[in-house]
Amino acid sequence: MTARTMQAHPAGEEAAEAAIAHGASGMPTALVGMLLFIASEVMFFGGLFATYFSARAGVPAGAWHPPEPGHLDLPLAAVLTAVLVASSFTMQFGVWAIRRGDPGKLRLWTAITLGLGILFLAGQLYDYSQLGFSIADSSFGTVFYTLTGFHGAHVFGGVVGLTIVLARTTRGQFTARNHVAVEAVSMYWHFVDVVWIFVFSTIYLLR
């Protein structure tokens, strides 16, 4: 009997909340906002990719390469890609953990994700320091640094978001029912990851 009443209580609470709050059904308001924001970000990167393909189309065939001796570091970029893709998985493990009501696991997975994000940024900065061409050298240099740079800025934004999630979960602010910030940051992190897959494929693979 006791177990039954305890089970019934959260359900009743939820129904009461749904009756009070506007639009409490369906996707949480904050996630709707995040999805719309991501839609606008897709268009932003769409614009940058348009500049990339336009610049590429304006260069004679075969001339579309970084000026010597500045070859792109494909192995390093591939490793960084693996790092970022892995961080999407670790982020999702954290989301699943808090959905089950396990803030300890969320904290662990968020910390790992944050570490992988910082590793990616560090790797990108190292890559920049080793490349033998600049933004002003050629059309390639311009679009390369613009695309990867703005992606990096978005990774940095995600790192800030992850830091906030980590701080808040350390203070025990997330529960199985109340963790919309975790879901929002994870959505954004997956988006940044997917953008990188497009950036990587376009710049490194589509030679």
Binding site: F37, S139, T142
Partner: protein, 561 residues
């Protein structure tokens, strides 16, 4: 002693801040809406003065008042400020104030983001204007075509940064509006019971959300070109100036509908109320709005016919296609007026002005959609005439219709009607004097964005007429300002519902309390308040009737079985 005292009194805020601090820190959508509107009108006056500089210089041949560079700065800033800091934010301001009320919501979905969107505007606008302090403002025209932008001074960089801030404000606002529409509607307020104004704001927000980031990408690329030696747009280092035009107009054409759709929504609120009829063809209007939003993505290159770099038949056809949903709206409005009991209030006059002036702008738009005509008048005053008939005759008339219509809700006081009519008629006549002659000037070859012309060209008289018209528009603003100030001091109290409106904003007090509604009327249609105050005409007890009918029906069917 059976008196009950409420402490604090009902409706009063629990604590009172110093009023300046209150306005600076507010997250109430109504106060933010008013901040938007006031801020927009300040930029309107600034950009209007720049327009007078341009028109004064062009009144007679020769350079009398300003040098060529100042002239270029004046028309560039006029266009930029009017579009990005007056029309869009003014309509956003009304949307901010009215949309939550019309949805029966207590506020926007994200009140603090709402405040952020507003405060980015004066910051961005200030940066754009600050070019005047640092060796001259941007001077490439509001379209910022490459490679002209390579030549500009620091004013151009400030223009880029300012526009990025204003664009960010727009994007955040769009996220907020869309989320509000989908998550904050009152019980019973289904999508197809939303007022038309909300529908137009929703479609506008989708356009802003998806178009503005593309401009942001272009502006950032331009900034990199100018400051870090990039080669996106500058042909001298291998860039492609046509790319800028593609990016700019891929944003810029949806932008045109961002500017006009909410004004269409305002007109669709004002016309039914003052015709004493429901809007004719509600659903057709909604689908026409969605269709315009959709088509706006397919027509950007009609600004680029003469580049020779675009496929003319496609863009010409798609552009002409937009006349169909727009024409549907025209007939919606006309059929709404047909046999209505018209009340020619100032708001109604501005709405009727919108319809007639926007019609002229729409027709010259279809003319420009035809490449043979466009090649002939590209970059002439014909285009200037066209865009002012849609932006000014359309959107700005919509802003004034909204101002006269919703001022009583926002302040509790009605603007003076006779003074409003003086404003309208001077404005309307001045507008046509200023911009109608430009059609003829363009057809006879006068290029836009020139500070001087030959006395032998035969353009002198029409230019003088146009300048007189521009000053008439400026004069018409005086009775408007007097009206606003006098009404604030000693205006006629409006009451909750001065116009006998249809929609929920009139169901609460004027001005509404911070939480908007004590109680909401039942919402069974797109005109909940009309049915609350007037009943359903002969079918005042309609729900009961319906129940009886249905009960009879059921009995009947049982009999059949």
């Amino acid at each position: 002693m059976a008196t009950t005292t409420l402490e604090p009194p009902a409706g009063a805020p629990a604590y009172q801040r110093f009023w300046v601090l209150d306005w600076l820190t507010t997250v109430d959508h109504k106060k933010i809406g008013i901040l938007y509107i006031v801020n927009s009108f300040l930029f309107f006056f600034a950009a209007g003065i720049l327009a007078l500089v341009v028109r004064s210089e062009l009144a007679v041949p020769g350079l009398q008042i300003v040098d060529q560079d100042t002239f270029n700065q004046a028309f560039t800033m006029h266009g930029t400020i009017m579009l990005f800091l007056f029309i869009i934010p003014a309509l956003s301001g009304f949307a901010n104030y009215i949309v939550p009320l019309q949805l029966g919501a207590p506020d926007m979905a994200f009140p603090r983001i709402n405040a952020l969107s507003f405060w980015l505007l004066p910051l961005g606008g200030g940066l754009i204007f600050s070019g005047y302090l640092f060796g001259g403002a941007a001077a490439e025209g509001w379209t910022g075509y490459a490679p002209l932008t390579q030549q500009g001074g620091v004013g151009t960089d400030l223009w880029i940064i300012g526009l990025l801030l204003v664009g960010t404000a727009s994007i955040l606002g769009a996220v907020n509006f869309i989320t509000t529409v989908f998550k904050m509607r009152a019980p019973g307020m289904t999508l197809f019971r939303m007022p038309i104004f909300v529908w137009t704001v929703l479609v506008t927000a989708v356009l802003i959300l998806l178009a503005t980031p593309v401009l942001a990408a272009g502006l950032i690329a331009l900034f990199i070109d100018r400051n870090y030696g990039g080669s996106f747009f500058d042909p001298s280092v291998g860039g492609n100036p046509i790319l800028w035009q593609h990016i700019f107009w891929f944003f810029g054409h949806p932008e045109v509908y961002i500017v006009i759709l909410p004004a269409m929504g305002v007109v669709s609120e004002v016309l039914p109320v003052f015709s004493r009829k429901p809007l004719f063809g509600y659903k057709a209007f909604v689908f026409a709005t969605i269709a315009i939003g959709f088509l706006s993505w397919t027509v950007w290159a009609h600004h680029m016919f003469t580049t020779g770099a675009v496929f003319l038949p496609f863009f010409s056809f798609m552009t002409a296609l937009i006349a169909i949903p727009t024409g549907i709206k025209m007939f919606n409005w006309l059929a709404t007026l047909w046999r209505g009991k018209l009340m020619l209030t100032t708001a109604m006059l501005f709405a009727l002005g919108f319809i007639s002036m926007f019609l002229i702008g729409g027709i010259s738009g279809v003319m420009l959609a035809s490449p043979p005509i466009d090649f002939h008048v590209q970059d002439t005053y014909f285009v200037v005439a066209h865009l002012h008939y849609v932006f000014f005759g359309g959107s700005v008339f919509g802003v004034f219709a909204a101002t006269y219509y919703w001022f009583p809700k926002m302040t509790g006081k009605k603007l003076n009607e006779p003074l409003g009519k003086v404003h309208f008629w001077i404005h309307f006549i001045g507008f046509n004097l200023a911009f109608f002659p430009m059609h003829q000037l363009g057809l006879s070859g006068m290029p836009r964005r020139v500070s001087d012309y030959s006395p032998d060209a035969g353009w002198t008289i029409l230019n003088m007429v146009s300048t007189v018209g521009a000053f008439m528009i400026a004069v018409s603003i005086l009775p408007f300002l007097v009206n606003v100030v006098a009404t604030f001091i000693n205006g006629e109290p409006a009451g909750d519902d001065p116009w006998e409106g249809n929609t929920l904003e009139w169901a609460t007090t004027s001005p509404p309390p911070p939480y908007n509604f004590d109680r909401l009327p039942p919402i069974h249609s797109e005109r909940p308040l009309f049915f609350l105050t007037h009943g359903h005409g002969h079918a005042a007890e309609r729900p009961a009737d319906l129940e009886e009918d249905e009960a009879e029906d059921v009995e009947h069917r049982k009999g059949l079985v």
